[in-house]
């Protein structure tokens, strides 16, 4: 509790407050624009934080994350096009409101629910993380390997439409993480003798390439469309009756979103769809979903913002990112020389609690800006894409260049941009690559360390209960869907 007070006191500093505000405002704008995702926004603006000290840089990124996940609902409601994949489920009911001329009401519901979901997740982050970090302090190499293994299998199995594709992409990510000098022996692997590859590919250019460039290529392929908002958005503060209707759904969905966010690899889009379906199942009138009802907007919006805090839980306590945005945030911390995980809690507790307080404050700002400034953000939706997308291309270039002042990183970004574009075309998600690049070194190093400790006996992974649990869970996530598919087939026959 004392730590939290220190964190809150730290955050009450004009500079931090302004940075969070700027982040949230930028995030809402990015989120409002169809085609720009939260992942892309955070990846693109990460280079801007290089010159800042760790806390400032991280807080502005948190602001962007929180803002962008919420901002996606504006376009979803007003122009029937989700601003981010996370808002795809909001289209169903949100746009029905707009068709009735009640776009403002729907945005009000979305704003309030997003804030509720976000604040729930922030509180969960604050109260659950310390215990988890404390628990993780006991982890040795065997447990860390098992955790990384578990994270990898779960990512591969939920992030793609097809399990095999997810697993194959995950393998590619792990192989990419092997490029460079082997950290334990200094042996050079897959470097082709090139000096540039001795430390492998930098994570940030790979991420910018995989997450931002495909969107640009897609808008070239499909042409850009213009969005015009005809509707005049008036009252956005929800009425008492609406509040009463949405509260139970928003609270439930906020917890659900936090939980889904904390699972490695499951992000805001999955959370929003799950929450929408759950709200429908819980509802006394499920048939009304899709016709523009309060719960239909509240559920996905509370859940997708619930993910924001949830994704930070495993990131900060275990060093395992909860979703693609958290992976970029991990990159941001690493660039500042900070290694997320239990050690961060031990050595930089003040920073950790300042981040916690920042997540809370960012959600409050999101609410205030959503209620007061929504008319401004609705204008963003109509920004011409033919100016915007090319500008993003240049930002990708400059952002990749800025990390090491090296054009090699720009080439890496462009290469992965093309790879990412074709992956998207064959329904392969890019997230497993990025998460595998983070978890790969963690898995390999700890596997080898553990085997050195056990003198080569693999039983070390099965004798520790924690490690055994993760390994069983990991095998389960891959085997279970296959078994289910087989059982279904037997039933059909």
């Amino acid at each position: 509790m004392d730590n939290l007070l220190i964190g809150l006191a730290n955050i009450m500093n004009l500079k931090y407050i302004l940075l969070i505000m700027a982040g949230v405002a930028g995030g809402i704008s990015i989120g409002s624009l169809p085609g720009l995702t939260a992942t892309m926004g955070v990846a693109l603006l990460l280079p801007v934080t290089f010159g800042m000290e760790a806390t400032s840089g991280f807080l502005i990124l948190i602001g962007i994350y929180v803002g962008a996940v919420y901002g996606g609902s504006v376009a979803a409601i007003l122009v029937r096009t989700p601003g981010t994949p996370a808002a795809a489920a909001t289209v169903f009911d949100g746009n029905e409101f707009a068709k009735r001329g009640e776009g403002g009401r729907a945005i009000g519901i979305s704003t309030t629910s997003s804030a509720i979901g976000g604040i729930i997740s922030a509180l969960m982050l604050i109260f659950v993380s310390p215990y988890l970090a404390n628990f993780a302090l006991k982890f040795s190499s065997a447990e860390y390997f098992a955790l990384a293994f578990f994270g990898l299998t779960i990512i591969a199995s939920i992030s793609a439409k097809s399990l095999v594709k997810g697993l194959a992409v995950g393998m590619v990510g792990l192989l990419i993480s092997c490029i460079g000098l082997d950290p334990m022996t200094g042996y050079s692997r897959f470097t082709f003798g090139s000096y540039y590859l001795f430390s492998g590919f930098s994570l940030i250019p790979v991420m910018i390439g995989l997450f931002a460039m495909p969107q640009i290529y897609n808008s070239i392929l499909e042409g850009v469309s213009e969005f015009h908002i005809k509707q005049h958005v008036t009252r956005v503060l929800p009425t008492k009756a609406d509040m009463k209707l949405m509260l139970p759904t928003a609270i439930r969905s906020g917890f659900l979103g936090t939980f889904i966010g904390s699972i490695p690899g499951a992000g805001a889009d999955i959370a929003a769809f799950t929450a929408y379906n759950e709200a429908k199942r819980w509802s006394k009138h499920p048939e009304k979903f899709g016709t523009g009802i309060v719960e239909g907007v509240a559920a996905p919006e509370a859940a997708n913002n619930g993910v924001t805090g949830g994704a930070l839980i495993p990131l900060l306590t275990l060093g395992v990112p909860g979703d693609a945005v958290a992976a970029i945030l991990l990159g941001a911390l690493t660039l500042q020389g900070l290694q997320p995980g239990p050690i961060l809690f031990r050595d930089h507790i003040e920073l950790v609690y300042t981040i916690f307080a920042g997540v809370l404050v960012a959600n409050i700002f999101m609410f205030i800006m959503g209620i007061l400034g929504i008319r401004l953000f609705t204008k963003v939706v109509s920004v011409p894409k033919y100016y915007l997308m090319p500008t993003i291309f240049i930002l990708c270039v400059v952002g990749s260049y800025a990390i090491n002042n090296s054009f090699f990183d720009v080439l890496v970004m462009m290469g992965f941009g093309i790879v990412g574009y074709f992956m998207q075309k064959v329904d392969m998600s890019a997230s497993p690559i990025v998460l595998a690049m983070i978890l790969g070194p963690m898995a390999e190093e700890n596997l080898r360390k553990a085997l050195v400790m056990s003198e080569g006996s693999a039983s070390i992974f099965l004798t520790s209960p924690i490690s055994l649990f993760f390994i069983v869970a990991a095998v389960g996530t891959v085997v279970w869907p296959m078994m289910k598919a087989m059982m279904n087939r037997n039933k059909e026959n």
């Binding site: 280079p47 499909e222 992000g267 074709f422």
Partner: protein, 174 residues
């Protein structure tokens, strides 16, 4: 996780799909190509790894991890190919069109000239091409917008973030 939220909504894209549907690759073909590339990658890794020197004192050396991964990649790519053949998905996928070819070529030129003519000029060039291809207004207008955008980005990175962007052969002129 990153779906493209726009495809089903863009009227333009739907029209183009129906226009060119005949020449399209099917999802089956696309997935088979992907599986093939992954298989080649897996085989390449396995061959490369077998050439790694053994380090006598270590059972599990630098070769172990990539060796396992390469093997698994081969297995998964074969599984993917089998699954693809079984599913036999004939839906069309549009990979490339004329504009995208132009963009890839221009991006290639950009990569080559970036270090030569520096950030500002290469950025103005590629911004103009991209903006025109996406349907922005007249050349004059795009030149203006490209220049302003480039200068703002240059200014922000150079002055505020202290990231000096290269000028190439124009170094020292400005």
């Amino acid at each position: 996780m990153e779906h493209h939220p726009l495809d089903s909504y863009t009227r333009l894209s739907r029209e183009r799909c129906t226009m060119t549907a005949k020449r399209h690759t099917t999802k089956k073909q696309a997935d088979l190509i992907a599986a093939g590339i992954l298989l080649i990658l897996g085989i390449y890794v396995s061959i490369e790894v077998s050439g790694f020197k053994k380090i006598a004192s270590l059972d599990i050396g630098p070769a172990f991890f990539p060796k396992v991964l390469g093997g698994l990649l081969i297995v998964f790519s074969i599984l993917l190919a089998l699954q693809t053949v079984k599913n036999n998905n004939q839906e069309p996928v549009e990979f490339m069109n004329r504009n995208l070819w132009i963009v890839f070529i221009v991006v290639g030129i950009f990569s080559i000239v970036f270090n030569l003519i520096g950030f500002v000029f290469s950025s103005i060039m590629i911004l103009m091409v991209l903006m025109k291809l996406m349907g922005a207004g007249t050349w004059k207008k795009t030149l203006f917008v490209s220049t302003i955008t480039t200068l703002i980005i240059y200014g922000v990175f150079d002055y505020f973030l202290h990231v000096p962007l290269p000028w190439g052969i124009f170094e020292g002129l400005f």
